[in-house]
Protein backbone atom coordinates (compact mmCIF):
# COMPACT_ATOMS: atom_id res chain seq x y z
CA UNK A 1 0.00 0.00 0.00
CA UNK A 2 1.25 3.45 -0.90
CA UNK A 3 1.13 6.17 1.72
CA UNK A 4 2.84 9.48 2.33
CA UNK A 5 4.85 11.15 5.03
CA UNK A 6 6.33 14.61 5.07
CA UNK A 7 9.03 16.59 6.84
CA UNK A 8 8.32 20.24 7.51
CA UNK A 9 11.26 22.67 7.54
CA UNK A 10 10.95 26.36 8.34
CA UNK A 11 13.32 28.81 6.64
CA UNK A 12 13.43 32.05 8.59
CA UNK A 13 16.10 34.15 6.87
CA UNK A 14 17.66 34.74 3.47
CA UNK A 15 20.64 32.48 2.76
CA UNK A 16 19.90 30.22 5.72
CA UNK A 17 20.91 26.55 5.75
CA UNK A 18 18.49 24.49 7.82
CA UNK A 19 19.43 20.93 8.72
CA UNK A 20 16.76 18.36 9.55
CA UNK A 21 16.44 14.76 10.71
CA UNK A 22 13.14 12.88 10.64
CA UNK A 23 12.05 9.38 11.53
CA UNK A 24 9.97 7.67 8.87
CA UNK A 25 6.86 5.68 9.94
CA UNK A 26 7.78 2.22 11.28
CA UNK A 27 5.64 0.46 8.64
CA UNK A 28 7.59 2.09 5.75
CA UNK A 29 9.67 -0.49 3.90
CA UNK A 30 10.39 1.28 0.65
CA UNK A 31 10.53 4.83 -0.65
CA UNK A 32 9.55 5.18 -4.30
CA UNK A 33 9.32 8.94 -4.69
CA UNK A 34 10.08 12.36 -3.26
CA UNK A 35 8.21 15.66 -3.71
CA UNK A 36 9.40 19.02 -2.53
CA UNK A 37 7.14 21.99 -2.09
CA UNK A 38 7.07 25.39 -0.38
CA UNK A 39 4.37 27.80 0.68
CA UNK A 40 6.03 30.65 -1.19
CA UNK A 41 7.65 31.01 -4.57
CA UNK A 42 9.58 33.31 -6.86
CA UNK A 43 8.32 34.04 -10.35
CA UNK A 44 11.60 33.41 -12.13
CA UNK A 45 14.27 32.15 -9.74
CA UNK A 46 14.83 28.96 -7.75
CA UNK A 47 13.89 29.14 -4.11
CA UNK A 48 16.26 26.73 -2.41
CA UNK A 49 18.35 23.62 -2.77
CA UNK A 50 17.01 20.63 -0.87
CA UNK A 51 19.20 17.63 -0.08
CA UNK A 52 17.88 14.41 1.44
CA UNK A 53 19.68 11.20 2.42
CA UNK A 54 17.99 8.01 3.65
CA UNK A 55 18.88 5.34 6.20
CA UNK A 56 20.94 7.51 8.54
CA UNK A 57 23.30 8.53 5.77
CA UNK A 58 23.92 5.10 4.19
CA UNK A 59 21.16 5.37 1.55
CA UNK A 60 21.04 7.35 -1.64
CA UNK A 61 21.22 11.12 -1.64
CA UNK A 62 18.65 13.21 -3.45
CA UNK A 63 19.72 16.71 -4.25
CA UNK A 64 17.09 18.84 -5.88
CA UNK A 65 16.52 22.48 -6.57
CA UNK A 66 13.22 23.75 -5.27
CA UNK A 67 12.01 25.71 -8.22
CA UNK A 68 9.57 28.39 -9.14
CA UNK A 69 5.85 27.52 -9.13
CA UNK A 70 5.78 23.83 -8.41
CA UNK A 71 2.01 23.47 -8.71
CA UNK A 72 1.71 25.02 -12.16
CA UNK A 73 0.42 21.81 -13.79
CA UNK A 74 0.46 18.57 -11.87
CA UNK A 75 2.78 17.62 -9.05
CA UNK A 76 4.58 14.35 -9.76
CA UNK A 77 7.22 12.89 -7.47
CA UNK A 78 10.84 12.45 -8.35
CA UNK A 79 11.18 8.70 -8.72
CA UNK A 80 13.63 7.08 -6.31
CA UNK A 81 14.08 3.41 -5.48
CA UNK A 82 15.21 3.27 -1.91
CA UNK A 83 14.74 0.22 0.34
CA UNK A 84 14.44 1.43 3.91
CA UNK A 85 16.07 0.07 7.06
CA UNK A 86 13.96 -0.83 10.05
CA UNK A 87 12.95 2.40 11.80
CA UNK A 88 14.59 4.32 8.96
CA UNK A 89 15.53 7.93 9.31
CA UNK A 90 15.91 10.62 6.71
CA UNK A 91 18.17 13.60 7.10
CA UNK A 92 19.20 16.51 4.96
CA UNK A 93 19.23 20.25 4.62
CA UNK A 94 17.46 23.13 2.93
CA UNK A 95 19.76 25.83 1.58
CA UNK A 96 17.91 29.05 0.83
CA UNK A 97 18.94 31.05 -2.25
CA UNK A 98 17.62 34.37 -0.94
CA UNK A 99 14.90 34.58 -3.61
CA UNK A 100 11.74 34.02 -1.56
CA UNK A 101 9.00 36.62 -1.75
CA UNK A 102 8.74 36.61 2.06
CA UNK A 103 10.35 35.04 5.13
CA UNK A 104 9.73 32.84 7.00
CA UNK A 105 8.43 30.16 4.67
CA UNK A 106 7.93 26.43 5.07
CA UNK A 107 9.40 23.73 2.86
CA UNK A 108 7.65 20.37 2.96
CA UNK A 109 9.49 17.29 1.74
CA UNK A 110 7.07 14.47 0.94
CA UNK A 111 8.07 10.80 0.76
CA UNK A 112 6.01 8.33 -1.26
CA UNK A 113 6.29 5.17 0.84
CA UNK A 114 5.24 1.54 0.64
CA UNK A 115 4.61 -0.84 3.50
CA UNK A 116 5.73 -3.94 1.57
Amino acid sequence: MIFFHFTSVSVTASGQIVRFTDKLPAKAKYCSGVFMSANTHHHTKALANVSVVFNAGSGQTINQMLTVKDSSKKAEPLIVMQPLDENATVKGFVKDYGNAAAYPYVVKIYYKLKDE
Binding site: I2, F3, F6, F35, S37, N39, S71, K74
Partner: protein
Protein backbone atom coordinates in the same frame (compact mmCIF):
# COMPACT_ATOMS: atom_id res chain seq x y z
CA UNK B 1 3.19 -6.24 -36.75
CA UNK B 2 -0.05 -8.24 -36.85
CA UNK B 3 -1.93 -5.02 -37.40
CA UNK B 4 0.31 -4.13 -40.30
CA UNK B 5 -0.33 -7.52 -41.93
CA UNK B 6 -4.03 -7.17 -41.35
CA UNK B 7 -4.05 -3.72 -42.92
CA UNK B 8 -1.86 -4.64 -45.89
CA UNK B 9 -3.60 -4.10 -49.18
CA UNK B 10 -6.07 -1.57 -47.81
CA UNK B 11 -6.35 1.96 -49.05
CA UNK B 12 -4.07 4.21 -46.92
CA UNK B 13 -6.93 6.40 -45.74
CA UNK B 14 -9.05 3.39 -44.70
CA UNK B 15 -6.03 1.82 -42.98
CA UNK B 16 -5.40 5.02 -41.01
CA UNK B 17 -9.01 5.23 -39.91
CA UNK B 18 -8.98 1.58 -38.83
CA UNK B 19 -5.75 2.07 -36.88
CA UNK B 20 -7.10 5.08 -35.02
CA UNK B 21 -10.28 3.13 -34.15
CA UNK B 22 -8.15 0.26 -32.81
CA UNK B 23 -6.14 2.66 -30.64
CA UNK B 24 -9.39 4.15 -29.31
CA UNK B 25 -10.71 0.66 -28.54
CA UNK B 26 -7.55 -0.21 -26.58
CA UNK B 27 -7.74 3.09 -24.72
CA UNK B 28 -11.40 2.52 -23.89
CA UNK B 29 -10.77 -0.97 -22.51
CA UNK B 30 -8.40 0.60 -19.96
CA UNK B 31 -11.28 2.68 -18.60
CA UNK B 32 -13.97 0.03 -18.89
CA UNK B 33 -16.20 -0.28 -15.83
CA UNK B 34 -14.66 2.87 -14.43
CA UNK B 35 -16.85 5.31 -12.55
CA UNK B 36 -16.37 8.33 -10.35
CA UNK B 37 -17.39 8.92 -6.79
CA UNK B 38 -17.40 12.43 -5.35
CA UNK B 39 -16.77 13.88 -1.92
CA UNK B 40 -17.86 17.49 -2.10
CA UNK B 41 -16.96 20.07 0.53
CA UNK B 42 -18.50 23.55 0.56
CA UNK B 43 -15.81 25.88 1.85
CA UNK B 44 -16.78 29.22 3.40
CA UNK B 45 -14.57 32.30 3.19
CA UNK B 46 -11.64 32.44 5.63
CA UNK B 47 -9.45 29.74 7.13
CA UNK B 48 -11.66 26.86 8.10
CA UNK B 49 -11.16 23.14 8.56
CA UNK B 50 -13.66 20.67 7.17
CA UNK B 51 -13.99 16.92 7.46
CA UNK B 52 -16.08 14.59 5.34
CA UNK B 53 -16.67 10.86 5.47
CA UNK B 54 -17.77 8.81 2.50
CA UNK B 55 -18.55 5.12 1.97
CA UNK B 56 -17.82 3.73 -1.47
CA UNK B 57 -20.70 2.26 -3.49
CA UNK B 58 -21.25 -1.53 -3.13
CA UNK B 59 -20.74 -2.07 -6.89
CA UNK B 60 -17.23 -0.62 -6.78
CA UNK B 61 -14.52 -3.17 -6.11
CA UNK B 62 -11.37 -1.20 -6.65
CA UNK B 63 -10.20 2.35 -6.25
CA UNK B 64 -7.58 3.25 -8.85
CA UNK B 65 -7.10 6.99 -8.58
CA UNK B 66 -7.85 10.17 -6.69
CA UNK B 67 -8.00 13.83 -7.69
CA UNK B 68 -8.95 17.12 -6.12
CA UNK B 69 -10.89 19.69 -8.10
CA UNK B 70 -11.31 23.33 -7.15
CA UNK B 71 -12.87 25.90 -9.45
CA UNK B 72 -10.32 28.64 -8.84
CA UNK B 73 -6.64 27.66 -8.92
CA UNK B 74 -5.74 30.65 -6.72
CA UNK B 75 -7.29 29.02 -3.66
CA UNK B 76 -5.12 25.91 -3.74
CA UNK B 77 -1.92 27.64 -2.55
CA UNK B 78 -1.69 27.15 1.21
CA UNK B 79 -4.70 24.84 1.53
CA UNK B 80 -4.02 21.51 3.24
CA UNK B 81 -5.80 18.16 3.32
CA UNK B 82 -5.65 14.59 4.56
CA UNK B 83 -6.99 11.33 3.12
CA UNK B 84 -7.62 8.09 5.02
CA UNK B 85 -8.91 5.01 3.22
CA UNK B 86 -10.30 2.19 5.34
CA UNK B 87 -8.92 4.00 8.41
CA UNK B 88 -5.42 3.79 6.94
CA UNK B 89 -3.59 7.06 6.46
CA UNK B 90 -2.69 7.77 2.83
CA UNK B 91 -2.00 11.51 3.12
CA UNK B 92 -1.29 12.75 6.66
CA UNK B 93 -2.96 15.89 8.02
CA UNK B 94 -1.14 19.00 6.81
CA UNK B 95 -0.40 17.65 3.33
CA UNK B 96 -0.61 20.48 0.82
CA UNK B 97 -3.78 20.18 -1.26
CA UNK B 98 -1.86 21.10 -4.42
CA UNK B 99 -0.33 17.61 -4.36
CA UNK B 100 -3.66 16.16 -5.49
CA UNK B 101 -4.56 19.02 -7.79
CA UNK B 102 -3.99 19.25 -11.53
CA UNK B 103 -4.46 22.57 -13.29
CA UNK B 104 -6.82 23.20 -16.19
CA UNK B 105 -3.91 22.69 -18.60
CA UNK B 106 -3.81 18.98 -17.68
CA UNK B 107 -6.15 16.81 -19.84
CA UNK B 108 -9.04 15.16 -17.94
CA UNK B 109 -7.72 11.62 -18.44
CA UNK B 110 -4.40 12.60 -16.82
CA UNK B 111 -5.77 14.46 -13.82
CA UNK B 112 -5.97 11.44 -11.52
CA UNK B 113 -3.19 10.37 -9.20
CA UNK B 114 -2.82 6.62 -9.08
CA UNK B 115 -1.38 6.44 -5.55
CA UNK B 116 -4.41 4.75 -4.08
CA UNK B 117 -4.78 1.56 -6.14
CA UNK B 118 -6.44 -0.93 -3.78
CA UNK B 119 -9.47 -3.18 -3.33
CA UNK B 120 -12.56 -1.68 -1.75
CA UNK B 121 -15.82 -3.07 -0.44
CA UNK B 122 -18.09 -0.33 0.87
CA UNK B 123 -14.93 1.17 2.26
CA UNK B 124 -14.87 4.33 4.33
CA UNK B 125 -12.93 7.23 2.83
CA UNK B 126 -12.27 10.09 5.24
CA UNK B 127 -10.98 13.42 3.98
CA UNK B 128 -10.20 16.72 5.63
CA UNK B 129 -9.66 20.04 3.93
CA UNK B 130 -8.35 23.26 5.47
CA UNK B 131 -8.72 26.35 3.37
CA UNK B 132 -6.06 29.03 3.12
CA UNK B 133 -8.25 31.96 4.12
CA UNK B 134 -9.51 32.77 0.64
CA UNK B 135 -11.98 35.66 0.69
CA UNK B 136 -14.86 33.92 -1.11
CA UNK B 137 -16.74 30.65 -0.71
CA UNK B 138 -15.93 27.78 -3.06
CA UNK B 139 -16.32 24.04 -3.47
CA UNK B 140 -13.52 21.52 -3.05
CA UNK B 141 -14.34 18.15 -4.58
CA UNK B 142 -12.36 14.96 -4.10
CA UNK B 143 -12.96 12.54 -6.97
CA UNK B 144 -12.38 8.84 -6.51
CA UNK B 145 -11.80 6.82 -9.68
CA UNK B 146 -13.38 3.42 -9.03
CA UNK B 147 -13.80 0.19 -10.96
CA UNK B 148 -16.61 -2.38 -10.85
CA UNK B 149 -14.28 -5.34 -11.28
Amino acid sequence: MENQNYLRGLDAEVANELTSKMILAIDRSKYENTELEMIEISVAAGTTAYAASHTTAPRHKRIVGIALSIGDEAVIEGATMSVNIDSKEVFPAGTEAKLLFASTSVPPNQKFYTYVDREINQTKVDVTFTSNGFSAAYKATFYLLCQNK
